[in-house]
Symmetry: C2
Subunit: 209 residues, 2 copies
């Protein structure tokens, strides 16, 4: 039991790494098994197909990322400060990935969206679910900032989508230029998108820098 | 001569369509030749490799898109109105693509960035070149708006990158949801990112709707 669940983890870890560096389409199951050090039979014991494995990779990565997002976007700090910390945490995560593997990997969900959303409906649906959860989490924080009169937003869900689009776009450029400094623009872009009145936040925010 | 150049065009057209629908990595040269109706030898007469063909696809697509961008972003209208028309033209192009092939294809350059930028340095370099030309075109228009006092932008190149990131992010979501209506947010997002003073533009802009 211990060994089989270890095999599943190794397949997911190898699959996730290979998808990150080489994309999904070009991967073969034999290559994943070889990287995971498991026989093919073991792969099919856990996953019906490469697609099923990719769905599990998405679920696992989102569960992990959601924990980080919940920690940073939740909490007692002011909503704008929490958003700033969320961008800093995103930049730190991309920088750690770059140190690990030599290149900014970008966002797994964005990568798969652009590679696959027109090819597999199962993956499209799962990615939509992830981005909807993300949008709801960001909208909740923006909603708090609206209540405090700190931002000028007429449509909170649309503003959350705009902030996420900005994040995905800048992460794309960070990947293209293999340069996490691109993500330094996120905070100012976010303030502009939200029509934020920063002065009220400045002291608070300065402390976190 | 007429026939060989026709074969090159057919290879590029088939390659472009297949990259759009299936991505780059999973494509084989045999498949491209079959879709183009040319023998393999013909492919290698024009292109040293699949990568060389992809570079030519990028060049051709950017040449075509640049013509559209130059037309829309240039001209005599006010800078903000030209930017608004540029978003409308982008939405129209994605809508036309969706009507043609049933799905929003997104941006070829963004798709290839997320699929490939960590795999082939030649393609990464070419895509960087495309995005730098794009950023320069957008920065030129923002610079005009700054001179007219219509936007509040401290760093014009950074603002252009922010607008392009927003565009790529929203195009990603349009592809994920197969819904070009997502692009309707671009104009307001752009005004917010630029700290635009819209009232001065309203009459002008209203006419174009």
């Amino acid at each position: 039991m211990g060994r089989t669940s270890d095999a599943r983890e190794r397949i997911l870890s190898a699959g996730s790494g290979l998808i990150e560096t080489r994309g999904y389409s070009a991967l073969g199951i034999a290559e994943i098994c070889s990287a995971a050090g498991v026989p093919k039979g073991s792969f099919y014991y856990f996953f019906a197909s490469k697609e099923a494995m990719a769905l599990a990779v998405i679920d696992e990565q989102w569960a992990e990322q959601k924990t980080m997002w919940t920690g940073v976007l939740g909490g007692d700090a002011s909503p704008l400060l929490r958003m700033r910390r969320w961008f800093e945490a995103t930049e730190a995560a991309q920088r750690a990935g770059q140190l690990n593997c030599g290149a900014v990997a970008g966002c797994l969900f964005g990568n798969l969206t652009l590679e696959l959303s027109n090819q597999t409906e199962a993956i499209r649906g799962r990615l939509q679910g992830v981005f909807e959860e993300q949008a709801a989490m960001v909208a909740a924080v923006i909603g708090e900032a609206v209540e405090r009169g700190e931002v000028a937003v007429a449509d909170v869900p649309a503003a959350a989508r705009g902030v996420l689009a900005q994040l995905e776009g800048q992460v794309m450029f960070a990947k293209l230029y293999n340069d996490t400094a691109r993500l330094g623009a996120l905070w100012e872009n976010c303030l502009a998108l939200l029509g934020a009145r920063v002065p009220a936040e400045e002291d608070d925010v300065a402390e976190s820098v």
